[in-house]
Symmetry: C2
Subunit: 423 residues, 2 copies
Amino acid sequence: MLTRQDCEARDRADPLAPLREQFVLPEGVIYLDGNSLGVLPRATPARIREVVECEWGQDLIRSWNTAGWIHLPHRVGAKIARLVGAEAGELTAADSTSVNLYKVLVAASRLAQADAPERRVILSERSNFPTDLYIAQSVAQELGWALELVEADEIEARLGPDVAVLMLTHVNYRTGRMHDMAVLTRRAHEAGALAIWDLAHSAGAVPVDLKGCDADFAIGCGYKYLNGGPGAPAFVWVHPRHADRFWQPLAGWMGHASPFEFTPDYKPAAGIARYLCGTPPILSMAALECGVDTVLAAEPLGGMAALREKSLALTQLFMDLVEERCAGHGLALVSPREDALRGSQVCLTREEGGYAIVQALIARGVIGDFRAGDARMPDILRFGFTPLYCRHVDVWDAVEHLRAVLESGEWRRPEFNQRHAVT
Amino acid sequence: MLTRQDCEARDRADPLAPLREQFVLPEGVIYLDGNSLGVLPRATPARIREVVECEWGQDLIRSWNTAGWIHLPHRVGAKIARLVGAEAGELTAADSTSVNLYKVLVAASRLAQADAPERRVILSERSNFPTDLYIAQSVAQELGWALELVEADEIEARLGPDVAVLMLTHVNYRTGRMHDMAVLTRRAHEAGALAIWDLAHSAGAVPVDLKGCDADFAIGCGYKYLNGGPGAPAFVWVHPRHADRFWQPLAGWMGHASPFEFTPDYKPAAGIARYLCGTPPILSMAALECGVDTVLAAEPLGGMAALREKSLALTQLFMDLVEERCAGHGLALVSPREDALRGSQVCLTREEGGYAIVQALIARGVIGDFRAGDARMPDILRFGFTPLYCRHVDVWDAVEHLRAVLESGEWRRPEFNQRHAVT
């Protein structure tokens, strides 16, 4: 049987432990929701103050040149590229994940229309994150195409001659299940389809090798494991073999070859720059850079491989402790036990009370979240483990709180059963 | 002949003068570029610190509920609505101007396809802001439509039976010329076309009455006269008669009727909320709210009508003083002399040296900007007058610097003739 002392010993032996010092962690909080909103890096407030008070306040419009605002999307993009197996100049920070998905889906559909016009299906997973499905539904409707949704284990079989694009989220937001990007991209290509990957729950959480997997397009989120702050800009990557073939439809001035020549005709910039659209939100973009820097700080300590090792240790520990210490309380594991299939989160389910249990945990300072089920999918109690700042002892304490909430029945209190707008 | 003392007297008599106290104005700078990037409101740094350090840093994910992040786009939108003749609930802050233009152009084209499928032309002005033309070009290309560009005085005559959408920027970015929104919207409707207005250089600068003019769609910019900070989110307005007829194509989760039910099918929210797409950039959105508040602070003093009166006084003064004090130096006025045709900026041109003159002025602390001409359009020396913080004495001093730059010939120095990436 594991003890809290064992967890403390693991933290003492953890070579990544110093990375936690990069963050502001509120007193009395065990934060297991970095998969939804990453915590505040210590460097961010000073950097934002500099952007607001010096660059904007004092240097004003000149900062587009003197502070390099105009290059910020590409500078941040080049840093994110290092985390996902891409090169500088292939990836840029821009807009939201949803907007970027629209860009790459339309670009992919144009490729398909040019190269294989008989293909008119976008294939995705039924439990993909809803905004991905909404955007795909919109694009399919505009094109007169179909969006087909299947279960994870039906994907390969459904890759038929009518499929133009396989659009998947690498790590499932509900279950934490991770697809094999290399295998599914290869299967898609063998079947004549293009592969778009949403890295929302992957970037900064698990190793990703976009070039090694030969993916076609990728997008991802800045405010989860990249710690970029609420609503941070997202990112978009396009394989160089496709980048120059089409303009994406949101052909705004920042994607123009010479935005400040103000020519009336759109002439797309070379490469990924044409995936920019309007003027980037500099405050949010600067905060994103600080967040990405916290992940890059792991590079001298082994980088994403070392973070992955710790992440797996944390999620394994959580699953082991829940099984051991919360047995008999009706919890079941939704996330895969097998390491290769699991992202950096663990999802539990319970026939009843999932929402209230999460609320009771939050009241105790253990912050996870809840995702309601439906006819097809169970309720989810979701716990994200960010290896940059999560400790083994946090896992122990979180499970002890979970056990206490279940044993005491405190989750049945009325205040834990009132729904909020956002959970 | 006017004197500097006359200008000082006008400032003393100016009922709007106290509004200037709302802003951080760098020492030694006369800022005539608020039409490109508004100055920093004094309230912004503290508000951003609160968002970053308290709402994000301490309350983390809970702030979507407790700090009302989820309502922020609509709260800011309702404030902007008061400045442009719209109602709360009809306008929301979101994305960039370019992205919002794409949304409303596609929505307008769908209306046209449903109601008048023979109309397949988007009509705009040749000297419209380039990103508007690029987005329209992209939409026209997707639809197999044509984008037609004419001169300002040719618009009415070109409103034929093939025109689906008239897309105009209310105040021209190059010349400061302002269209008559009421007349052109009526002409468009009489000709069977829809009217989209870009308020980038209008919102917070000149009175706008979207409902009174019966406009169909409008978009606008948050970082110019609204003082929202570099790359602040933009806004989008849709007349209620159209809002529920279609989803716009960027159908992301924030525009869903129940984003946090995570249903696989897109069900658009009622009204303007369906014009949201992804997660909003909260830091930049919070700064935008501070900026909008600086304009709303004029409401007890007469609001946009009073700001307009002062703006016209400032631009008239600038034109008068340039004519009087810079005569014989080859400057010509590009902006209209007639008040009803002029926004809140004055543009000059000169056969030679426009870029260098602007650089020499910047070196003296007088910040305007330069827009290069081409075969059709002259070079522009552009000066924006934000009535919230610009004084009559600033106008006097700016013209004196301009006179000195021209008389001394200092603009011929090599350092003023080196081009930057962004001007």
